[in-house]
Amino acid sequence: MPAERSGTPGTGRGNSRPWEASQASPGRARDYAAVLARQREIILRSTGVDYAQFEGPGLAFDYERMMSATGYSLPEVQQIQGECEVGNTPLLELRQLTALARKLAPAGKGARIFLKDEACNPSGSFKARRAALSVYHARTHGYAGVVAATSGNYGAAVASQAARQGLKCIVVQETYDSRTVGQPEIIEKGRACEAYGAEVLQLTVGPELFYTFLLVLEDTGFFNASLYTPFAIAGIETLGYELAVQTRSRCGRFPDAVVVTHAGGGNVTGTARGLRKAGSTQTQVIGASVDLSGLHMASDRDFNRKSFTTGHTGFGVPFAVNPDRADVPRNAARPLRYLDRYVTVTQGEVFYATELLAQLEGLERGPAGNTSLAAAFVLAQQMDRDQIVVVNETEYTGAGKHPTAQLTFARQNGIEVRTGDPRDNVPGRCIVIPEDPAQMQVVEQDLDRIRRSYLRHVLGSRRPEELERPELEYLAEEIHTSPGRLQQLLGQLDPG
């Protein structure tokens, strides 16, 4: 890591934060092990949240108390986002796509498809909602700047909000493989961050990005605009709330299903919480990810063999199984608490859906945000004609972040691109664009299998029969199931 030579060490002004040293600590060891060992202290100082207060009993922690004690109420979030010109995006009815789905569906099937056009947010994605809250929180708590570790739209969102709210911004991105080849979608996001005035640290592949991130937090005293703090998740609740209210006002009823592109879990969590706060309690929350099974997310070789840098199973499954693998001790994004159903689609199907959106609806968006659209197009065909399915987001499109850019890049990296049956898609080897819309499908993911993986992980060396009642109650909430079903799932875990 480069060191701060002069500049502004410890410029987070905040007498309100007694844990903050008056300046960055000179002479502290900067090697990997030493910095990682200071992780807890750095996170505490850079988020202002003492996560320890929510811990216990046993393996449990008080999720709702964390959300209410450190987050913001829905009216507060609405006010903050209103001042930041974030949110209140249009709900669009996709009439042509609905008509096409009805052509393919059995008689009486083919739900109306709506789309929440989140690309209308200042930075072009729903991530502006999270960023508005994180940057607001940083500003009102005396931090001089914000740091985000992200290769996604969140970087541009934080940079955009930091620009609006007068804070400095640093974005730490995983961008290149060891050949110095950058993923075009990430290059574009880095460009957007710089356009909004952020410093962008672009790294090669590897989870040790977190080391760099911690050093930057320590050097600058800036706020950790993590995707996973209670503030960031509270910011998404307005998305679920708005789409529920908009759907009811337009159609006289709440949506029957909302399809959410699922990666780190924030989109699912915030949207579902917002739906509940609007009273839309019967709405099915369906997560959708791009299937990237077989590709290793920390592999220098696999990095540029994928065409999607987010919304995929490489994040979706691990973050469901272990949400606390995040850059904060307790992740406020906990997708298993809210998912009613989880499906996957292929890269080729998402590109196809992106093309349908442009060609039939006149909307050039995505592609990664169209993962949920690809799934919704199929799911609508399974639902009744009088039902409503809402796709909860779009994202801006641009150079690098576009189907033609991504498919050209895929070919340059030895990936076969062809038309055919999307079932022949092989992540990292072959992208198959459907020949016909009837070939689009979703693959149902077994949530119980993911729940068992979650339980296995969280139990560690503890045996199910040792669990105390409060721990069992916590686990039932964590996996969105009844106490009885929890016992069944615990009974299905491998002994030992």
Binding site: G7, L100, T180, G182, E194, F351, A399
Partner: protein, 130 residues
């Protein structure tokens, strides 16, 4: 005061920065020019234990852009920049006024077929069985 860098990209066993050199924008940068510097963060073999072998075999590297602070620096030489976040960072100069090279790519025949086909379908020209 300069903190010791965990890796400058120069010296030691490595001249890894050479792979990052982009001479297109010129080989010499002058004070105030927008440039890109390189920093080696972790050596190959010193990576986190849980990364796969192909990642373990290469260093963790980083590039960042900013305004050059020295009067004149050549590609491959140590350089200092002031970033857009107003930080002063040091590394090895690898590009002068680096351009964004990403674009919309080439036409994709497999996608060009989609619009006409679904429009025909919607117009009722084909009776489609599910």
């Amino acid at each position: 005061m300069v903190e010791p860098l965990s890796g400058t990209g120069q010296g030691g066993k490595g001249r890894e920065y050479q792979r990052w050199l982009r001479p297109e924008g010129g080989r010499i940068a002058r004070r105030g020019q927008w440039v890109q510097i390189y920093v080696k963060v972790l050596d190959a073999g010193q990576r986190a234990p849980n990364v796969p072998p192909e990642t373990q075999a290469v260093p963790l590297e980083m590039v960042v852009k900013g305004f050059l602070q020295e009067d004149q620096v050549g590609l491959g030489e140590p350089a200092t920049v002031r970033t857009l976040a107003d930080r002063i960072l040091q590394g090895v100069l690898v590009a002068v006024e680096p351009r964004y090279g990403h674009d919309f790519g080439a036409p994709v025949a497999e996608l060009l077929q989609v619009g006409p086909r679904v429009r025909r379908l919607l117009a009722g020209g084909e009776n489609h069985a599910c």
